[in-house]
Each structure stands twice: as C-alpha cells, then as structure tokens.
C-alpha cells in the first residue's frame, strides 16, 4: 500500500466555477434557441465546449492526484459512496419516465377509452375512442398520425443481447484487472466499448427506421412520447457510459490501475451495469409488453 494515510482535501479549484459558467451558457443558449433567438446556438455551443474543457481539466486533475497516490482508502470510499448515490439519482430520473408510461397505460388511456371512472369522459368528449395499446396510443385525436409500433424481436432483442454480453465482458475485464492480466483487461474493455458503440449505432438506425418507415415520431401521442423519451435518455446514458469506458480503456492502456486500487474502473463498470438494467426495463415495458 503506497497510498497516503491522510484524507485528501484539495486546496482550491477553479473547475467548479468553470463548470457552472459552462452550464449557464449552455442552458441560456438552449433557451434562446427554443425562443428562436439567433445567439442561442453559438452560446450553447460555447457552453458545451467549456463544459468539455472543464471535464477534461477536472477529471484530469483527479487522475493525476490519484496517480500521485494522494488518496487513501477513506477517500476511495468517499468516491464509492458518491458514485453509488449518483447512480441512485439516475435511477430515480428514469423512474419518472417509467412512471409516466405506467400512468398513461394504466390510467389515462383507459379512462379516455371509457373504462372505470372514465365513462362520462369517453361518452361526451371522445365518443368512439377505444384505448388499445399500442395501436391507439397516440390518443383520441390521433396526434402525430397513424403509426406502427416498434416490435420487440428485431433490433431491440439484438440490442438486449449486446448489452447483456457487454455486461459480461466488462466483468471479464474486471477479473483480468484483479488478476493483473493486462491483456484480458484491455481486450475485455475494448469489447465492451465496441459492443456499446454497436448498440448506439443500432439504436440510431432504429430511430431512423421509426421516423421514415413507421411514422413513429416523438410527436406520436403518448406512445411516441414515452417511447422516445425513455429510449432517448437511455441512449444518451449508454453514450455517456461508453465515453467513460473509453477513458478507462485509455487509462488501462496507460497502466493506471492496480489490482487493488482501481475505483475509476469500477465506477464506470457500475454505471455500465446500471444502463444495462435500465435497458432490461425498457425492453420489457416499452418494447415487449
């Protein structure tokens, strides 16, 4: 054990304020874009650029400190708790959208269709509307027009296999790391990243297919809304996870981790398992049921 025995409290850092400014610019820029102001896009672009610089700088600092053995086991545990609760917050973020899907399917659509408490609603406001998931799930006004559902057994099923496999490969890499087999580590990680990217690629293909062939759009009523918000945020998270893994891969190649100290690897792996589990939820509730 070469790490410090002291709790590391950095002296001061300008990265947080840089991050705040970046987010501020990004969000003000995006707001301006939504309100059709011309300065929106450049402002948002600049914000995102600064945000990237901030992430490089901040994480770079942490990596350097870690490599300089500034962190002890206690610091390591702080990072672990931090990552764990961050992932929990992400779970709750997805819970809001799963909740919306659940609510729409169990309550609002049936009510509009006249079930339960919805008899009067259906009779006076939406006569003739029959709630059928998914075919009628763009609501009584057919918002977004006729669409076809995204089947579960094509790309989604393949994607399920891909993500499940990637969960295995990342664990395999972890074993390699713990056993100090660098080749396994790097190859395992490489496979994981590759699978992740294939997943994202297939997802993008699926979106194009949905828009061009199925007329399934974000605007296709509650079905399109829940479908794209859930899969979209998931895809975003897969992308983030893949970027994390790419960084970890680079650091592994640079020889950063040791068999008993590699929190960053584990954090990325946890995150990856989290997107994996969310996907299983999506596969069941969005595509299959």
């Amino acid at each position: 054990m070469t790490a410090q025995t002291q709790y590391y409290v950095p002296h001061g850092s300008h990265w947080p304020i840089v991050g705040s400014v970046a987010l501020f610019m990004t969000f003000v820029g995006l707001s301006a874009m939504l309100n059709e102001a011309s300065f929106g896009l450049p402002l948002m672009g600049a914000g995102i650029a600064i945000l990237l610089v901030m992430m490089f700088g901040w994480f770079g600092t942490v990596v350097r400190e870690s490599e300089a053995n500034a962190y002890n086991d206690q610091v390591d545990r702080s990072f672990r708790w931090g990552m764990f609760w961050f992932i929990f917050s992400e779970v709750m973020f997805f819970a809001a959208f799963f909740g919306a899907l659940f609510y729409a399917r169990t309550f609002s659509l049936p009510w509009l269709g006249g079930e339960g408490d919805g008899a009067a609603t259906n009779m006076y406001l939406w006569p003739g509307f029959e709630a059928l998931w998914p075919s009628n799930a763009n609501g009584p006004s057919q918002i977004g027009g006729e669409f076809r559902q995204m089947g579960a057994w094509g790309i989604p099923a393949i994607n399920t296999l891909i993500l499940l496999t990637s969960g295995v490969t990342v664990t395999w890499a972890h074993h390699g790391l713990r056993a100090n087999r660098r080749a396994t580590l790097i190859f395992g990680l490489f496979l994981t990243v590759a699978l992740g990217l294939v997943f994202v690629g297939l997802q993008a293909y699926e979106y194009i297919h949905a828009y061009t062939d199925l007329n399934l759009t974000l605007g296709a009523g509650i079905y399109g809304s829940t479908f794209f918000m859930l899969t979209g945020f998931h895809g975003l998270h897969v992308t983030i996870g893949a970027i994390m893994l790419i960084v970890i891969l680079a650091r592994s190649i640079a020889g950063h981790f040791t068999p008993d100290r590699h929190f960053a690897f584990e954090a990325a792996a946890w995150y990856w398992h989290f997107v994996d589990v969310v996907w299983l939820g999506l596969f069941f509730f969005v595509y299959w049921l």
């Binding site: 702080s78 917050s89 709750m92």
Partner: protein
C-alpha cells in the same frame, strides 16, 4: 489509521481575496456562502411576498397587474423553497456535519464547491425571467400544465434553472451522505451521532430520491411545449393530472426535506438550554425514518379534488394521517426533554420553543387537510396557505434562525447581542402570527388562494395579514443587523459558548481553525 489533513499548497489558511470564495473547497467557507446566499434570497423572496401582501391589503386592483401578481406568488415560492430553506440547511450541514462527526471536511470538497456555485447561476436564470417577453412564470410554484405551458419565453429558463437547482441539491446531498457514512471519527457510531446529523442523513436520502423525479417531470413539460410530446395532453393520450402525480411524488417528500433538518436543529438546542439530554434519542431516529418512509406514499393528498378513484382517496388520506404519529413522537419527546430540566431562555431557545408550538399548529391544520371531505372545502384556499406558512415560516425559518443564533458564536467567535436577539424573536413571533393566523379564517370563509383581488367580506383579515407581513419583514432587518454586527465584532465567545452545550463542535476553539479535526478525536 490516522487521517491527517493534507494540503497541496503547504499552507493552512484560506486563499486571499475573491478567490477564497470562488475556488474554495473548505466546508466552512462553503457553508458561509450557502448561508449568505440564503439570506439574500430570503429578502428577495420576502419582497415578492410583500408585493402580494400590498396588493391584497384591500379589495380591488391597486398596484400590479393580475398576471404579475401571479408571477410574484410563483417566484416567491420558488425563491423561498429552493433559494432560502434548502440552501440554508445545506449551509448548516456544511458548517456543522464535519465538526459534529469529527471529520476533516466534507467527503468530496470540490464537488461541494460546485454544489454551491451552481446556485447563483440557477437563480440568475430564474430571476432573469422577470425581464423576458411574456413575463416571469405565473402558473404557481406547482407548475401545473396546461397553464404553465402558456408561459412565454420564460419557460425554458425556468425549467433549466430547476435542473441546475436539482443538480446542486443532489450533489450536495451525495456529499452529505458520503461525509456522514465515511468521515466519522473512530467511535462515532451511527447511534451516537447528533440528531442534526441523523436528520440530514435522511433528508439527503430524500433529496437524492426525489429531485431527479422533479427534473424528469419538468423535462416532460419542456418537451410538451417545444417538441410535440403529449405527456400532459389528453388529445394525445396523456393527462394533465399525470404531471400532478409526478410533481407531488417529488413535492411531498420535498416538504419534509424542508422540515427534517429543522427537527434536527431543535433536537440539538433544547437539551442545551434544558441542561438535560435529549429524551428518546432512539425513537427520534426511528420517527425521522418513518416520516421519510411515509412521505413517499402520501403525495396525492395535494390532489384530492382532481377526481381520483375512491380507493385511492382513502389510501392517501389514511397514509397521510399516519404521519401525525411519528411527528407526534417528536413533539412529545421535545416536551419531555424540557420536562424537569433547568431551562434558560436565550434567543436560540426562544426560537426553538416558538418552533415547537407554531409548527404543531401547522401540523394540526395539515392533519385537517388530510381529511378528504373537509379538504374539498379547504383545498386551494387560504386555509392551505395558512397551513404551509405555519410549518414553513415559524417552522423551517425559525429553526434556521435558532440555528444561526445557536452556532453563530462558534462560527464567528463573537457573542451576538442577546437583547436584540430577544427583540427579534418577539417581534417575529407576534408578526408571524398576525400574518398567517387570519389566513385560516379567510380560507375557511371561502377565499381562494392565488387571487389578486377578493370579495369584500375578506377585507379585515387581509388587512391584518398585510400589516403582519410588513411588520415581520421589518423585524428581519433586525436579524440582518444582528448577524452582520456579530460577524464584525462583539464580545468574545468561549469555546463551549453555552454552559449546557454538548457535542464535538463545542470542543473546538471559537471560531474554529480553518481546518478542524486533522487528527480525529476519539469518541467514547
């Protein structure tokens, strides 16, 4: 394992100048920033409340346009909740938790800085909405669609501001949890932690669980408005009520986020001035946990009139009523703590006692609101406004003030002026009741909330409330003065400050050195 402070710049004090505050990773500096931020927002949010109260002083439209009135109500609430109470508690957590558990600092110091420094930007965005075309948000802090979707250019700014506040709260909460779970001195077992630490641990859990849900909900608002989704649109198969469920799944735990740390503060102050240990420590911990647990299953008591099925109404009524049990346990334990003590009544104690009485009154009206048939009459009237101001103003705000008086000598090394402190307490207490007690009556008599003008029979009580509000506001200027004066000088405080005080923070010098507990204390 000894955990000694390491400092990469090889000096032990703060940076000089503005950099000290912008780049700081020190929990005390960050705590100070949070507290001052909350103070500023309190005056801004209060000013908005005064606009409301001025317009409501008498019937008729006198000062503001109804739309602007609604903006004031909305912004007032957003500022007070997200800009005052939550940051103030996080400030207290920053200052106190590391000292109370015998840790070096917060577990994740740089993240800590970011948690704070997101806030000024978030609130700049929020306040900027006052100046955009279409005006500031005016749909109420509850942001119900479809009305909120009628907001003009302010909508995305509002939503992104809420995202930033949410990020800030979540990161702050993660830091608190990591600190409590990981930075305790050897021997500081969970069941030895001061109550304030316990309540914050549970609050932090609530925060991490519900802030992301709010973020998700407002994101759906954004996409409904700008990207054609139909979450809250019946024509597309959605439901405006769905937003209410999402909002209150966040919103109800949120109100406990706004009160649990107060419970912690009160549980610290009472034993000191009663010179007697806290009664029923274990049951306090369990009660706090039960409140937190129950808070996840009561949310729809805010929506009894939306037309839920009978079974749902019954479920939410009964679960809501249940919360009175653990809350009662807390109140009874506090009374038992005072019972046969040896009490003195310095300002923090006065505020604590005021808290217990007035919070309980607010709790009672809460219980009345939980009774569905009666809530049909109470809902969206000033009776509700009275309820929540009783739990929030003489509740959360009083607890925060009690905490400031209690720990200010520790933080600054100076004693505040006790006479002025007592004046502040009595003025606040009288005026807070003058402001909010009459609202029970106007509400029962049928005055809806969120209206800029009212029928003649409500006039008397509205006048009283407005006078009270201005009086209460003026009294807070005294508070500002006392705090500033104490920061700048005054009689030197001893290390223990209060002769009945117990806990690790009182073993440190007043003011404590920039870095404390670089060698962890041993707890018996």
């Amino acid at each position: 394992m000894s955990a000694v402070m390491v400092d990469d710049h090889h000096h032990d004090g703060p940076d000089s100048g503005i950099k000290r505050w912008i780049c700081t990773t020190n929990h005390k500096d960050i705590g100070t920033l949070y507290l001052w931020f909350a103070m500023i927002m309190f005056f801004l949010g209060g000013l908005m409340a005064l606009v409301v109260r001025a317009e409501l002083f008498q019937p008729g439209l006198q000062f503001v346009d109804p739309q602007f009135f609604n903006s004031m109500t909305t912004m007032h609430a957003l500022l007070m909740i997200f800009g005052v109470v939550m940051p103030a508690f996080t400030g207290l957590a920053n200052w106190l938790i590391p000292m109370m558990v015998g840790g070096t600092d917060m577990a994740l110091p740089r993240l800590n800085n970011w948690s704070f420094w997101l806030l000024p930007f978030a609130f700049t965005m929020l306040l900027a909405t006052l100046f955009v075309p279409g005006g500031a948000p005016a749909g109420g802090w509850t942001l119900y669609p479809p009305l909120t979707l009628q907001t003009g250019a302010a909508l995305p700014l509002l939503i992104f501001a809420i995202h930033l506040m949410g990020m800030s709260s979540i990161m702050g909460a993660i830091n608190v949890i990591a600190t409590i779970l990981n930075m305790r001195a050897p021997g500081m077992t969970l069941m030895k932690m001061p109550m304030f630490v316990w309540t914050w641990l549970i609050t932090a859990y609530l925060l991490i669980a519900v802030m992301p849900v709010l973020a998700g909900g407002v994101t759906m608002l954004l996409t409904d408005k700008y990207f054609g989704t139909s979450f809250f649109n019946a024509a597309g198969g959605g439901d405006p009520v769905m937003f209410q469920h999402i909002f209150w799944f966040f919103g109800h735990p949120e109100v406990y986020i706004l009160i649990l740390p107060s419970f912690g503060v009160i549980s610290m102050i009472l034993p000191t001035f009663a010179r007697k240990p806290l009664f029923g420590y274990n049951s306090m911990v369990y009660a706090t946990a039960s409140i937190a647990f129950l808070s996840f299953v009561v949310w729809a008591h805010h929506m009894f009139t939306v037309g839920m099925p009978l079974a749902a109404q019954l479920f939410f009524m009964l679960s809501t009523m249940l919360i009175a049990v653990p809350t009662g346990v807390k109140v009874f334990n506090w009374v038992a703590t005072m019972w046969r003590g040896s009490m003195t009544f310095e300002t923090p104690m006065l505020f604590a006692i005021g808290f217990i009485v007035l919070f309980t009154i607010g709790g009672f009206s809460g219980l009345m609101l939980a009774i569905v048939p009666a809530d049909y009459q109470y809902h969206d009237t000033y009776f509700v406004v009275a309820h929540f101001h009783y739990v929030l103003v003489p509740g959360s705000i009083f607890a925060i003030m009690a905490a400031v008086y209690y720990w200010l000598p520790k933080w600054t090394g100076h004693l505040y002026n006790e006479t002025l402190g007592k004046w502040h307490f009595w003025l606040s207490t009288i005026f807070v009741n003058l402001t909010f007690f009459p609202m029970h009556f106007t509400g029962l008599a049928g005055m809806p909330r969120r209206i800029p003008d009212y029928a003649l029979q409500f006039t008397d009580y509205n006048m009283l409330a407005s006078i009270g509000a201005f009086g209460f506001g003026l009294a807070q200027l005294l508070f500002l003065y006392i705090v500033v004066a104490t920061v700048r000088g005054g009689e030197r405080a001893t290390d223990r400050v209060w002769d009945g005080a117990d806990g690790l923070e009182w073993t440190l010098p007043s003011p404590p050195p920039y870095h404390t507990f670089t060698t962890p204390p041993q707890i018996r």
